[in-house]
Every structure is written in structure tokens, then in C-alpha cells.
């Protein structure tokens, strides 16, 4: 089999001592940062992104991916122990994880979330291995119009399906697209929206945008805010973590169903771990014979969403790497990192850089295994680390942000830019606008414009090209359906409120 030859070669690269080291470092740092309240994977990756720039592309990607799913595992820990989701995709885990911790069963809850995550991730990687070549073949028949439609669908799905007001999220996508316009126009060399500032001629630095929106804005919002109290203190023994046989049996089906839901939603553009975990939780509750137990500390309520968001976390790499179209903000950052390394993800990426593509997949296996191994002994350390108050942590985080942003171009200008985006992000938080759609729009902006121009050039300015091509027509049809559904459900829910009043 072709896949296994490639994978073996990938393991050959991933198993070198340096790359194993990067993977280990990535998962540990990611795990640590995922555990720390107030910093999710997005902030973690954007803060640590600059550190990887000195490395080889494959080593850097292996480390970044390690940070990503290391933080995924860690985020579940804070949801269970603190009732604070490190990231939105773990919000559902709080519902049953925190009650379990309050019943003194935090260890079992963490162990369950870990095993479910591991199984979900493994299936996700398998799907990625076998589905990617198929996706690549399909993607080769994509024209510029199809790419444009695909990105439009991704942006609309990401903003209408995520939490918060869909209207405000779409507005953030547009703002992100506009920010993406800053810099030099690729086709004409025209400087756009730079205000004559030479540092902006290469565009706004993605790390400055991301660390500002997610790192600095979080600090601004969380400083002087009372912290949650920790339930489980001290080390946890292995025995206290093991679920009973009956509980294991109860988990099997939810894990499998969660994995399936996650895998599908991960591949679709614009839908990711958050939606996957919410959907699988709702699904389990719906089909359960005892739905009243959900929300009071039932183990299925942890197993299903955790399996789901980890399988989505893996399959989300498929469109990002094979189409160059990221499904969520984290993937957008990954895409940004690849472009900084001079690699353009797309259908040609697996064939042109098989070493990077397959060593990344191999490192997924290694990283997930490492996480399961290190997570158990680490939980004791992490829970003690949670005792470090936020007021001591945030100045250090702020330093990481500043030095990280500086190091990309050795430019203090970028640090100032990060502050601007931090203030913007804080303002958005106060006004209830989501930052993730903005980042997604920012990354996709230049790509969308390029594909739109190319599509229009090929069709000689005929807009019908978007409807004539079956792929773009069906994708845009989905966009329209989503928009109509969003408007309709908003109107319906407001009518219902009206009827109650």
C-alpha cells in the first residue's frame, strides 16, 4: 500500500531524535498552556509560533501540532477541575466534568476524557491518512471559482454555526478580510491601507494579530478578576483515576458516535471541534434512556464530546493541508505558519513535500501517544501549578507575547501592532464580538481576492461562472441555505419570545 510506504518514510523522519524532542517539547508546552486558565490553544500557538521559526519546517510543524493537541488534552483538565474551559471546544466537558470533580471523581473524569480524546484522535488520524489522497484528487479539479466558493462557505459556516450572534460574527469576518487587504497588492504592487508606514507593506503580521486578539486581549479582560477555586488538590493516584468496568462499557458507544460526528464536522469547512462537541453531547443526551443524568456528572457526557473534538481536531487538518482552506482559527494559524515557512498548502502539497506531510502525520501518532503517557503523571504537577495565582502569571505571559512577536522580524513595531490588536480584541470582547472569525477572515482575505480575480479573468467578467460550475454552485448553494436558515431561526426565536411576553 502506498499509504503505508509513505507513513513508514514519515515515521523515519519523525523518529529522529531532534524531531522526537520537538514533538515532546510541543506536547508538554501545549499541555501546560492548555491547563493554565485564560490561555487556550489559540493563544498558546500564537505565542509559541515565533519560537519555531528557527527550526526546519518539518520539525517546526511537528512542534506546532504538538502544542495544538497538547493544549486540547490540557483544556479538558481545566474544564473538569476549575469549570473553566481552556477553549470553547471543551465548554461542554464542564457540564459533566465539574460535577464529577465535585463528587470527588476528578481523576476518573480526567482519565475518561484522556482515553476518549486518544481514541477520537486515532480514528481522526486514520481518516486523515486514507481520505487525504482522495481529497487531493478531488481538489485538482477545483478551479478558482470553486476555491472562492469553498472559502466563502468556510467563512459563513464558521460565523453562523459558532456561538454568539451570527450577524456580528459575519461582520467580524468582513473586518478580518479588510485587515487582510493591508499591505502590497500582489498583482499590481499597489500599497493598500498602509498609511505610508513602510513596516506595513508586507501586510499585518499574523502573529501580531493572533497574540493581540487572543493573548493581550485575554489579559486585559482577566486582570483583577476573581479566580475560580480548585477542587482537587495534590497528586492523584493511578487507582483513583481508573473508571469501573461498568463505566467503561457505558462509554464505548458514546466515544464511537462522538468520533464519527467529530470526523465529519472536522472535514467540513467552518465547522470544527466546538460544534462537534456540542452536537455529540446533544446527540447522546437525546438518545440516552436516562437524559436526566446529563449535567449531573455522568461519564458519557465527558466521553462523547471529548472524543468528538479530538477527532475533529485531526480531520480539520485535511482541508487545511490539501485545499489550503482552514476550517477554524487554529487551522488558519497553522496555515499562516506554513506560508511563513514558504510552503503553500494545497492539492500539490502532499506530493511536493511528502516528507513534511507524512512526518506530520507520523508525529500525530507519536504526539498523541506521548500525551497519554505523560498526561497521567503530569496531572499532579499541573493541578499544583494551577495554584499559582493569575496575577503572578500574566506579567510573564505578557513578556512571552512581546518577545515572541518581536522575534519574527526583530521589529519592535510588531509589538506595538500586537498592542493595537489587543485593544481591538478587548473592545470586541466588551461589545460581544467574536475574535475567531476575524482571524479566519484575515488569513483567507488575500487568498479569496486572488481566486476571485482569477475566476473573473477566466470567465471574462461573467459572474455566471459561480453558478455554471457544479462544485462552486453547490458550495454557494450551501452558503445561501445557511444564511437563510440563520435568518429564519433568528426570526422564529424572536417570535417565540414575543409570544411568551
Amino acid at each position: 500500500m502506498d499509504v503505508f510506504d509513505n507513513l513508514a518514510a514519515g515515521f523515519g523522519i519523525a523518529f529522529t531524535l531532534t524531531n522526537l524532542g520537538y514533538s515532546l517539547l510541543g506536547v508538554i508546552v501545549g499541555n501546560l498552556i492548555g491547563v493554565l486558565p485564560g490561555i487556550g490553544p489559540l493563544a498558546a500557538i500564537s505565542i509559541l509560533l515565533p519560537i519555531t521559526f528557527g527550526l526546519e519546517p518539518s520539525g517546526a510543524l511537528i512542534m506546532l501540532a504538538g502544542i495544538y493537541y497538547g493544549a486540547q488534552y490540557g483544556g479538558a483538565t481545566t474544564s473538569i477541575l476549575l469549570n473553566i474551559p481552556g477553549v470553547a471546544s471543551h465548554a461542554v466537558t464542564c457540564l459533566d466534568g465539574y460535577p464529577m470533580a465535585r463528587q470527588g471523581r476528578a481523576g476518573v473524569a480526567i482519565f475518561t476524557s484522556m482515553m476518549s480524546s486518544f481514541i477520537g484522535a486515532c480514528v481522526g488520524i486514520l481518516i486523515m491518512m486514507f481520505f487525504s489522497p482522495f481529497m487531493v484528487r478531488a481538489a485538482l479539479s477545483f478551479g478558482p471559482a470553486d476555491y472562492f466558493a469553498m472559502m466563502a462557505l468556510g467563512l459563513i459556516a464558521a460565523s453562523t454555526l459558532a456561538q454568539g450572534s451570527a450577524l456580528k460574527s459575519i461582520a467580524m469576518v468582513i473586518l478580518g478580510l479588510l485587515i487582510g487587504m493591508i499591505g502590497t497588492d500582489v498583482q499590481t504592487g499597489q500599497q493598500r491601507f498602509t498609511g505610508g508606514i513602510p513596516e506595513l507593506s508586507d501586510g499585518v503580521n499574523i502573529v501580531a494579530v493572533a497574540t493581540g486578539l487572543f493573548g493581550i486581549a485575554d489579559i486585559l479582560a482577566n486582570v483583577n478578576r476573581p479566580q475560580g477555586s480548585i477542587i482537587a488538590r495534590g497528586a492523584m493516584s493511578m487507582r483513583s483515576m481508573l473508571p469501573t468496568m461498568a463505566e467503561v462499557r457505558r462509554c464505548v458507544a458514546p466515544i464511537l458516535r462522538g468520533t464519527g460526528i467529530g470526523a465529519v464536522l472536522g472535514i467540513l469547512p467552518g465547522t470544527g471541534g466546538t460544534i462537534a462537541s456540542f452536537m455529540s453531547y446533544a446527540f447522546e443526551k437525546k438518545i440516552s434512556k436516562t437524559p436526566e443524568r446529563f449535567g449531573k456528572g455522568t461519564i458519557e457526557g465527558i466521553a462523547a464530546p471529548e472524543a468528538s473534538n479530538n477527532s475533529a481536531a485531526q480531520t480539520a487538518f485535511i482541508p487545511t493541508l490539501t485545499l489550503g482552506v482552514p476550517g477554524d482559527a487554529v487551522m488558519a494559524l497553522m496555515l499562516g505558519a506554513l506560508i511563513i515557512f514558504g510552503i503553500q498548502p494545497g492539492p500539490r502539497f502532499p506530493a511536493e513535500h511528502p516528507d513534511i506531510f507524512w512526518s506530520l502525520i507520523a508525529s500525530f501518532w507519536i504526539g498523541n501517544l506521548l500525551l497519554v503517557i505523560i498526561n497521567i503523571p503530569m496531572i499532579g504537577i499541573w493541578t499544583r501549578l494551577l495554584l499559582v495565582p493569575y496575577r503572578i502569571l500574566y506579567p510573564a505571559i505578557l513578556f512571552f507575547v512581546c518577545i515572541g512577536v518581536y522575534s519574527i522580524n526583530n521589529a519592535l513595531f510588531d509589538v506595538g501592532l500586537a498592542l493595537v490588536f489587543g485593544l481591538l480584541g478587548y473592545g470586541m470582547k466588551l461589545l460581544n464580538f467574536e475574535p475567531a472569525p476575524l482571524l479566519l477572515g484575515y488569513v483567507l482575505g488575500p487568498l479569496m481576492e486572488e481566486h476571485l480575480r482569477r475566476a473573473m479573468l477566466l470567465s471574462r467578467g461573467d459572474m455566471m461562472v459561480f453558478i455554471d460550475r457544479p462544485i462552486s454552485a453547490s458550495l454557494l448553494g450551501l452558503c445561501a441555505a445557511l444564511l437563510i436558515w440563520t435568518v429564519w431561526s433568528a426570526l422564529r426565536s424572536s417570535r417565540r419570545v414575543h409570544a411568551q411576553a
Binding site: 499590481t188 526583530n410 498592542l419 479569496m448 476571485l452 419570545v497
Partner: protein, 154 residues
């Protein structure tokens, strides 16, 4: 909030969006627009500017419809956090430019730590020294980032 007639979050946010969209339209007016077939550098930004204005207007409208309001109550910005954190980053940039990395870290961490009311000046000072030592060790000696430690007031 019973007496409120509008959600200030939507009205302010929407007006800001309209302003940004309008600014984009004014600035992009200088770029050649081109035609649908050969889009100039102004085409896509102008398109986005109009959409931004339209969405801003829709968000303002949403702020006047009570049943479409967001959950939760509007929060006031923390002036202390905004001014303190901004000042600390400005100090980092200025000190980094003229004095070197070590003074920059001391100022950044020292000033930002004082934003939290629970931190005393002594805590902030100790934290600043600790981060400076650790930070220089990790980033300058460990990762080889180029940033002069002291430049002696250029």
C-alpha cells in the same frame, strides 16, 4: 436594564463598523477599481467596504430590537487595565529601542504587574527580576533571538 431602549454594545459596535467601512471606501477610492474582468487593487476593498457598512447598519438595528439582544449585561471597560497594560508595552518598546532588553523586561513586567490590585510593588519588582533572568536565559541564550541586552542609552 428594564428601561433601556437599546443595547449599547450593538449600537456602538455597529457604528464603529460603519466608520471602518466608510474609511475603507474613502481610502480605497484612490486605488484603481478596474472592471469585473480585470479587477484593480480597489475592487475587492470597495466591495468589502460596502458590505462592512451594511452589516454595521444591521448591527445597529439589532441593538434597537430588544428580543434580538445578546445575553448578559454590557460591561464597562477597565481603564486601569487598558492604561496599565498599554503603558507597560510602550515602555517595553521605548526601552527596547534605547536601553536594551533587560531594562525593557524590567519595565514591562514591573508596570504590568502593578495593574492587578493584589500585587504590591515588592512583588512586582521581584517578578520583574525573575522574568528578566529567566527570559534572557531562554530566549537569548537558549533560542538565540537577537536583542541587545544593554545598549547604554542610545
Amino acid at each position: 436594564m428594564k428601561t433601556a431602549r437599546l443595547d449599547p454594545r450593538d449600537v456602538i459596535g455597529g457604528l464603529v463598523l460603519i466608520a471602518i467601512g466608510a474609511a475603507a471606501l474613502v481610502i480605497a477610492d484612490d486605488y484603481s477599481f478596474g472592471s469585473a474582468r480585470r479587477m484593480g487593487p480597489g475592487y475587492f476593498p470597495v466591495l468589502l467596504g460596502w458590505i462592512c457598512c451594511a452589516l454595521g447598519a444591521a448591527v445597529v438595528a439589532k441593538g434597537f430590537i430588544r428580543k434580538m439582544w445578546d445575553d448578559g449585561l454590557p460591561e464597562m471597560p477597565s481603564l486601569r487595565a487598558v492604561l496599565g497594560i498599554s503603558a507597560s508595552i510602550f515602555a517595553f518598546i521605548l526601552a527596547g529601542e534605547h536601553l536594551g532588553l533587560v531594562p525593557a523586561i524590567l519595565l514591562l513586567v514591573g508596570i504590568s504587574a502593578l495593574v492587578d490590585r493584589g500585587n504590591r510593588p515588592l512583588t512586582a519588582g521581584l517578578l520583574a527580576v525573575a522574568v528578566a533572568i529567566g527570559g534572557v536565559a531562554i530566549f537569548i541564550y537558549g533560542l538565540g533571538i537577537i536583542f541587545p541586552l544593554f545598549t547604554g542609552g542610545r
